[in-house]
Amino acid sequence: MRSVFSLMRFDLLQALRNRGVVIWVLLFPLLLATVFMFMFDGVPAGGTQAAAVGVVSDGSEGAEALAGALEELSSGDDAPIDAVRYPDEAAAAEAARSGEVCAYVVAAAGAAPRMEVPARESGTVDQAVVQLVLERSLQVSATLATVAEVAPEALSSPGAAVRLASALAGDDATTERLSVLRTESSEFARYYYAMLGFSSLMGAQVALLLVVSKRADGTPAGARRQLGAVDPVAQLASSLLAAWVVVFACLVVALLYMRLVVGVSFGGREGLAVAACAACALVSCAVGALIGSLPRVSTSAKDVVCTVATMGLSLPAGLFGEPSQRLADWLSANAPLVQAANPAVQVGETFYRLAYYDSLAPFAQSVGALLAISAVLLAVSALFMRRQRYAAL
C-alpha cells in the first residue's frame, strides 16, 4: 500500500506539471463558464417577442375592421403581434421572403382573411401565434352564427349579439403559471450542466496520460516501470487514484466558480454536488483508462481518440448551442438508452436532477448510471491491460 501512495505522489506531480492537463482540465471549464456568463447576461430568459406580421387591406369596411383589430393587438408591452401595413401583396410577400415579417394577412371584402407564409420558413411559432389571432377573430363570427342557429332566443334581445361578441373577444379567462421545480430553471442552465459533462470528459486526459506512462508499449519510461519492483497492478492503481484526485479537485474548483462567481444554482445541495463530482471524476478516469489501454494504438492516436470522444459525447449533451440541444431532446425522447450510456449526458443529468427535483431518487439514479458506466469501462480496460502488459517487453 505504501508503494501505491508513493507512486501516487509522483503521478500527481506528473499530472500537475503537464501543461495540457492544467489548461484543459482546470482552466478551460473556468473560461467557458465565464464566456457563458457574459453571453447570457442581459438576454431575457424565456421571453417572447411580438410576432411581426404584414397586413394588406383592400380598404373595404370589413377589411379595415380586421386590419384595425390586428393593429390594436399590436399595442402594449405584452402585444402578441406587431402588425405592419403594406400597400399591396407584392410588397408584403417580399417582406415575408426577406424575414421582415413572419407572414402576412390579406383582408378583403366578402372573403375570409388569408394568411400567407414564406415557403422557406413555414410552421414557425410566430406564424402559429398569428394564426391563433386570426382564428379567434373568425371564432367570434362563427360562434355568433352557431348560437343564432342552435339557440336563436339567446340573441333575440337588443344588443345581445354585440355583448356576446365583446365577451368572446375579451380576456377574462386566465391561467396561473405553477413553479414546480426546486429552483427556477432557464434555457441557459443546460449549458452549464452540459459544460460540467464536457469538463469531466476532458479530465479523461489525466488518466490517459498516467496510464500510457505505465504501459510497456506506451513510452520507454513505461517499459522500465513495468520491469520495476512494483507490481503492475499497484502502478495502475496509483495512476487511477492520482487521476481521480486531480479531476475531482478540478471539478470542485469549476463547481465553486459556477456557484460563487457565475451564480448557477444547485438547489441548495452544494454538498451533494461535491459528492456528484466524485462520481464524475470516476467516470472520467474510466474513460481515460479505457482509451489509454487500447492495444496496438499509438499514443498520439489515443490523444486523437480522446479528443474526438470528448467532443462527440458532448454533442448530444447539448453543449454546442440550440441545434445540439434539440438533438439531445430528440435522442432523449427516441433513444433514451443511447443517452443513458453517454457519460457526458449522465454528468449533466446528475447536476440537473440534483438542482430541480425534490426527490433525490433521480439524482441517485444518475449517480448509479455513472458508477455502472465506470465499472464497465474499467473492466474492459483491465482486460486490455492484462493482455498487453508484457507485449512490449
Binding site: 373568425l138 448551442g321 441545434p323
Partner: protein, 395 residues
C-alpha cells in the same frame, strides 16, 4: 517555391489533426444540420407537446382538455408532484395544463354572476415559445366557454357543443397559403453547417498551421539548415506565409466540399450563385485562422499551448460570433464586443445570404464588405506574427 511546397506538405501530413479538426468537426456540423432540416415545405401549424391533468372531470374541463390535446402532441402524465417536476425538468411537455377540481362549476357560476372566472393552472416550458402558444390557445378556449355561459342561457354541455362547432368552422374558414420563392435560397441545414464550420475554419486551421509548422520552428535543426540556404529572409518569410495561406485554403476547401457533399440533396434546388457567395466570408475566415496559426507559430507555441489557444480562441469567437446562440438573442453589451471579432461578421454575412432569395448588387456589396472586414483581421494577425517573428529572431 521549394519551401512553400515543403511546408505545406509537412502540415498536411498531420493526419490526426486533420481527422479531428476537419473531418470530425465537419461531421458534427453535418449531424446538427441534418437534424435541423431544410426549413421549407408546406405549412403545418406548430404542435407543442402538451400534457393535461384534469382534476375536475366536468364537461367544461373535458372540452378544454380535448382542445389542448387536438392542437398539440399529447404526452401522458400522472398527477403527481414528481411527474410534474420530471416533465418540467426534462422538458417532456412544452405545456402542462392542470384543471383544478370544481373548475367547470366555478366557471359557470362566475359567468352567470358576471364575476371573474377561476384561473386554470399550468406549467410552461422555459425552452421556447411553444408553451406560451399552447397557453394562449387554452385561454382562448376558456374565454369562449365563459362568454357563451355569461351571455346566453345555454347549459355547460350546450355551450361546449356550440364552441366546438364554431371552432371547427373558424379553422376551415382560415386559408393559409405558402409564398413560393422566385429563386430558391439557401436551405436551413446548409446554413447551420456553414455556421458550425466557423469553428474548424478558425481554430482548426490555426492549430494545423501552428502544430504542423512545429518542425520548422526557430529552435529546430531543419530551420538552421534552411537559414544556410541561398534564400533571402523576405523570400523565406513570404513562402512560409503562402504555405499558411495554402493550409487555410485546403481546410476551407475540404470543409466546404464535405458540406456540399452531405447537404447535396437540399442544395440541389438552391441558387448556385448564393452558395458561391456564402463561401467568400468563410474563405476569409480560414485566412484569419491561418494568420492566427502563423502568429502562434511565430510566438513559438508548442503542442498544448497551440491546441489551447486555437480551441479556446475558436470557442470564444464562435460563441461571440453567433454560431451557437443567435446574434439577435445577444445583449447590447455582448453585441458591441462581438462586432470586434471576425466570426461575428462571417455569421452576419451568412445570415444575409440566407435571407436573400437571389443575388442582387446590394447583397454582393454587403457580403464583399463584410468579407473584406474579416480579411483585415487576417492581415492584422499576419502582420503581428511577422513582426513578432522578426523580433524573436533578432532577439
Amino acid at each position: 517555391m521549394q519551401l512553400f511546397r515543403f511546408a505545406g506538405r509537412v502540415v498536411l501530413r498531420h493526419r490526426g489533426l486533420l481527422a479531428i479538426y476537419v473531418v470530425a468537426l465537419a461531421a458534427f456540423g453535418w449531424l446538427m444540420a441534418s437534424y435541423v432540416g431544410t426549413g421549407s415545405g408546406p405549412y403545418e401549424a406548430v404542435r407543442p407537446t402538451v400534457a393535461v391533468i384534469d382534476r375536475d372531470g366536468s364537461a367544461v374541463s373535458g372540452a378544454l382538455a380535448a382542445w389542448a390535446a387536438e392542437e398539440g402532441e399529447l404526452v401522458e402524465l400522472p398527477d403527481t408532484t414528481y411527474a410534474l417536476q420530471d416533465a418540467a425538468a426534462k422538458d417532456l411537455a412544452n405545456y402542462v395544463l392542470v384543471i383544478p377540481e370544481g373548475y367547470g362549476e366555478g366557471l359557470e357560476a362566475a359567468a352567470r354572476a358576471g364575476a371573474e372566472p377561476p384561473a386554470l393552472e399550468c406549467v410552461v416550458s422555459y425552452s421556447d415559445a411553444r408553451g406560451s402558444l399552447a397557453d394562449e390557445r387554452v385561454r382562448a378556449g376558456a374565454q369562449q366557454l365563459y362568454a357563451l355561459l355569461a351571455e346566453t342561457d345555454l347549459t355547460a354541455e350546450e355551450a361546449v357543443g356550440v364552441a366546438r362547432q364554431a371552432r371547427g368552422e373558424a379553422e376551415t374558414r382560415l386559408e393559409v397559403g405558402v409564398i413560393e420563392a422566385e429563386e430558391a435560397g439557401l436551405p436551413s441545414d446548409y446554413l447551420v453547417y456553414m455556421q458550425f464550420s466557423t469553428y474548424a475554419l478558425f481554430g482548426g486551421t490555426a492549430i494545423l498551421v501552428a502544430c504542423g509548422l512545429r518542425s520548422l520552428g526557430r529552435d529546430q535543426p531543419v530551420t538552421q539548415r534552411l537559414l544556410a540556404a541561398p534564400l533571402t529572409e523576405t523570400a523565406r518569410g513570404a513562402q512560409l506565409a503562402l504555405a499558411c495561406l495554402g493550409v487555410g485554403l485546403a481546410v476551407w476547401a475540404a470543409v466546404e466540399a464535405l458540406g456540399a457533399l452531405w447537404c447535396a440533396g437540399s442544395l440541389a434546388a438552391a441558387d448556385a450563385r448564393l452558395v458561391l457567395l456564402a463561401q467568400a466570408p468563410l474563405l476569409a475566415l480560414a485566412c484569419v485562422g491561418a494568420a492566427f496559426g502563423y502568429l502562434l507559430w511565430s510566438l513559438g507555441a508548442t503542442g498544448d499551448l497551440a491546441h489551447a489557444a486555437g480551441n479556446i480562441g475558436s470557442m470564444v469567437l464562435t460563441f461571440l460570433g453567433g454560431t451557437w446562440v443567435q446574434q439577435a438573442s445577444m445583449g447590447a453589451a455582448v453585441t458591441a464586443v462581438a462586432r470586434l471579432t471576425p466570426v461575428w461578421w462571417v455569421v452576419h454575412a451568412l445570415g444575409e445570404v440566407y435571407a436573400a432569395t437571389g443575388t442582387t448588387g446590394g447583397l454582393v456589396a454587403s457580403v464583399a464588405a463584410q468579407t473584406g472586414l474579416t480579411a483585415l483581421f487576417a492581415v492584422a494577425l499576419a502582420a503581428a506574427g511577422m513582426a513578432l517573428g522578426r523580433a524573436r529572431r533578432r532577439g
